[in-house]
Assembly symmetry: C2
Homo-oligomer: 145 residues x 2
Amino acid sequence: MVKRTRFDEESCPVARSVDAVGDWWSLLIVRDAFDGSRRFGEFQRGLGVAKNILSTRLRALVDAGILEQVPVGARHEYVLTPKGEALFPVIVALRQWGEAYAFDPGESRSELLDRRDQQPLRPLEIRAADGRLVTAADTEVRKPA
Amino acid sequence: MVKRTRFDEESCPVARSVDAVGDWWSLLIVRDAFDGSRRFGEFQRGLGVAKNILSTRLRALVDAGILEQVPVGARHEYVLTPKGEALFPVIVALRQWGEAYAFDPGESRSELLDRRDQQPLRPLEIRAADGRLVTAADTEVRKPA
């Protein structure tokens, strides 16, 4: 297994999230769970990942409360918990950035669509408490005292 | 260096983003760049990371077009490019998830505030093209033909 640095002592919520999710594989497992994968074999086919890597990551995601195991007949399936479902904006943000910057013009890519009208979602907007749009330059980080 | 699987052949923009950003260290470097770090030593102090790890990650982020090196006197500084600035929603999404799920009640944490009124930002909202709020269940992924 790849050794991973732990960030969970940090007071920064970004670092804590990074620590809780695990690694990139884990994030792609979460992506596939959003896309409908539930069974071990489905995740394996979707990701093309070795069984031992997948097995370790699934267990870690269950331990982190992001996935839960649900018995279905003689086997079990993996389902996102509310904590896991709450990662949707992270997946959408990564997807929209990738759409904008990681493909050549005309290169084919998967699309995330609204089921109702088959249109892509709106780009994410960062808004202040009063509703106005803000950029990174309009914000600052306050460290704990 | 930690061996990393490459996802850049995938047609999924989430996987491409994951590949372009690099690893978690790289994402935390981007976070620190948003928070004002520009010099090698600033990143090093902020992250408490070994010089060789930081050096490799900074070079990869420059190669990926996320950071650029700007000469300042006899040295240089690292500044986010527009492509790097566009990662702000990813950082905000991770931060908001961490705030909600990765801290005990009352535990101290850093905060991302609007400079104008020192209030936290609004939670990210996922909206369809027509403006209505959607959850993951309202969406579907269409793979390329």
